[in-house]
């Protein structure tokens, strides 16, 4: 039974209005900006003013002239010009964009499957009888909420090639372009495998015992049990975790910012990182908005693909 009183809007609307004001409006504004070439410049002008003493009289130099001091006026001047689809056209010709797409695609396509597969394996392991199982499970939870930026800096000290704890491996973790991208992936795998693990473990423990009994009586092998019983039953959970990880992985920013600074060169400059730099470091705001919008559309497509599943989950 569900109620229908008008009072329902009083409960719902504040949050809806909030989202419209702080998410939907900025997104609309961002789309508008994407059609403009925006240039922000700081104009500096200097003005000489006489120095006054406490009585308000000008202070005179020994030469008899009034002493002066400079006042610096900084004035931010923003000009914008409608350029139509120009910003979107630029995207296709910009080699930095091509690299950023490649970096982000490799990151997502390697890190996310690794996290899901490893998380599932660990969940199956922890679903067994183990020594100190709940203590070990607690340890596994620790990385999930660790501040991503701090994690990036922390792994910078770990991957440090001259004297870091992994120095004995002789691997150019941060100085070689390919290894640097892999290092970013490793950090993400460290932080997010525990999340997949924890969710899968919870889902596994929610499966009824009778199921395993029945499978055992039918003489199913361990592999059969996994592929024919466990994975199909866990499919809704796996899809939700996949969606959440895909969406988060596409936002990749904090870890390369701290771990590699996008380098060496631009070898680990993710798409979000590039958009951030273009918009808020070079202040090419229109171009950055266009760039961010393309990412937004990609994420929307992914969400739409999952939409039916989401509706069922939250129905």
């Amino acid at each position: 039974m569900r109620w229908t009183g008008r009072v329902r809007f009083a409960f719902l609307l504040p949050a809806v209005i909030w989202v419209l004001a702080f998410t939907v409006f900025p997104l609309g504004y961002s789309l508008y900006l994407a059609f403009f070439k925006i240039e922000s410049k700081v104009e500096v002008t200097r003005e000489k003013v006489p120095v006054l003493d406490e009585q308000g009289e000008p202070v005179l130099l020994s030469s008899g002239k009034p002493r002066t001091r400079n006042i610096v006026h900084k004035n931010q001047v923003t000009t914008s010009e409608f350029v139509g689809l120009f910003n979107f056209e630029r995207l296709f010709e910009d080699p930095q964009v091509a690299t950023a797409i490649r970096v982000t695609a490799i990151f997502v396509l390697v890190a996310v499957p690794m996290e899901l597969a490893l998380g599932m394996l660990l969940a199956l392991l922890f679903n067994q009888q183990l020594l100190a199982r709940s203590a070990l499970r607690t340890i596994m939870i620790l990385p999930i909420f660790a501040t991503p930026l701090a994690v990036g800096y922390l792994f910078f000290t770990i991957f440090y090639e001259e004297g870091g704890p992994l120095g004995f491996l002789g691997i150019p973790f941060l100085s070689d372009p390919d290894w640097a991208l892999f290092s970013v992936i490793l950090v993400d795998v460290w932080q997010w495998t525990p999340f997949c693990f924890l969710v899968f473990l919870a889902a596994l423990q929610g499966l009824p015992d009778e199921l395993f009994e029945a499978a055992r009586i039918d003489g199913a092998s361990t592999l059969d049990l996994l592929t024919r019983v466990i994975l199909p039953l866990l499919q809704p959970t796996i899809l939700i975790v996949l969606l959440l990880r895909l969406a988060e992985a596409l936002k990749l920013f904090d870890v390369p910012f701290a771990l590699t600074g996008g380098g060496p060169g631009i070898a680990t400059q993710s798409y979000s990182f590039l958009a951030f730099r273009v918009g808020l470091r070079y202040f090419d705001l229109g171009y950055a908005s266009a760039m961010a919008y393309v990412l937004l559309i990609v994420v929307m497509i992914i969400v739409t693909l999952f939409f039916r599943r989401l509706r069922e989950t939250y129905g």
Binding site: R8, F9, F11, A132, I144, A150, P165, F257, A258, A292
Partner: protein
């Protein structure tokens, strides 16, 4: 496997079985060893941060092996004291705390009634589940798409580098979480109590405030803790908006690396300061994390 799953669940938390030679003991030993090794690998980076933060700067690269305090080097709290005694550092800690608390409280105040509305009322024109998914999809959006307009609006309003700007944006980020998770909590509550209150003339606000809210409070509090951790960890908007007065711990950390170069001992202390509160929250809200992070889709 089938059998051991059954045993594992029945015997969770019970003492390990008596050690007697049988195939299962070997399996138990191998799996336990494997699990311990995995857990140690995942723990190592956090342990390394602690170890580095306790070292005298000259010991940073000379410490051998696993860098165990008292064994491999003489630990010192000097780095911690140095770091915490700077005004900028203390300001960053205060800012992060204020911003994360205000943002999560604000999101709870806005989100809890909306969650209640979606759990209890029928919205005719747009089905409830579509409204829920609409909220959910806000969470999935890439923040770079909103950071630029948000920056421009805050600049126009003269609100760059203010706490309020960061509170507003963090509340916006965690609001969808609150709506979706708390909605699930309300759905799990029995309806009868609220119906009884309605019959007694309490009205919808009364039954929400006096019946549903107190019953959902533990879950709402746990949600608030997780939202605090999210807001605490946020970096993209913090570095876009804040420069001096409103810097949060991650922004302070990023700035420190620029100006001080690679000083691993300070980096480790700052990383610890940043990570300790959210990691403690993960432990406190352990039972609630699965539901929290999957937005109520999987019950932990």
């Amino acid at each position: 496997m089938a059998r051991s799953v059954g045993i594992a669940r029945a015997g969770a938390g019970a003492a390990p079985p008596a050690v007697r030679w049988r195939p299962d003991s070997l399996r138990y030993a191998i799996f336990s060893l494997l699990a311990i090794v995995v857990a140690m690998i995942f723990l190592f980076p956090l342990y390394w941060a602690l170890s580095t933060s306790l070292r005298n700067p000259i010991d940073t690269f000379t410490v051998a092996g696993l860098g165990i305090p008292w064994v491999d080097f003489e630990p010192t709290l000097d780095n911690w004291i140095d770091q915490i005694s700077t005004a900028e550092s203390r300001r960053a800690m205060a800012n992060s705390t204020i911003i994360a608390i205000c943002a999560s409280v604000l999101a709870l105040i806005l989100g809890t009634p909306a969650a209640y509305a979606l759990a209890r009322f029928n919205f005719k024109r747009m089905p409830n589940r579509d409204i829920t998914v609409w909220f959910l999809s806000q969470r999935v959006l890439p923040p770079v798409a909103t950071v630029i307009p948000f920056y421009l609006v805050m600049r126009a309003l003269g609100m760059l580098d203010t706490h309020i700007a960061l509170i507003l944006i963090n509340a916006t980020f965690v609001l969808p979480f609150v709506v979706v998770i708390v909605r699930q909590t309300f759905l799990d509550l029995p309806l009868e109590l609220e119906e009884a209150a309605l019959v007694d003339g309490a009205g919808h606000f009364g039954s929400f405030w006096r019946i549903a809210l107190p019953l959902a409070m533990p879950a709402i509090a746990a949600t608030g803790l997780i939202m605090f951790a999210f807001a605490w960890n946020e970096f993209l908007f913090a570095i876009a908006i804040s420069s001096k007065e409103a810097i949060t711990i991650p922004v302070h950390m990023a700035g420190g690396v620029d100006s001080r170069g690679v000083q691993f001992w300070f980096m480790a202390v700052r990383a610890m300061i940043a990570m300790i509160p959210p990691v403690l929250i993960a432990l406190l809200a352990q039972r609630f994390i699965v539901r929290g992070l999957t937005l109520g889709a999987v019950k932990g």
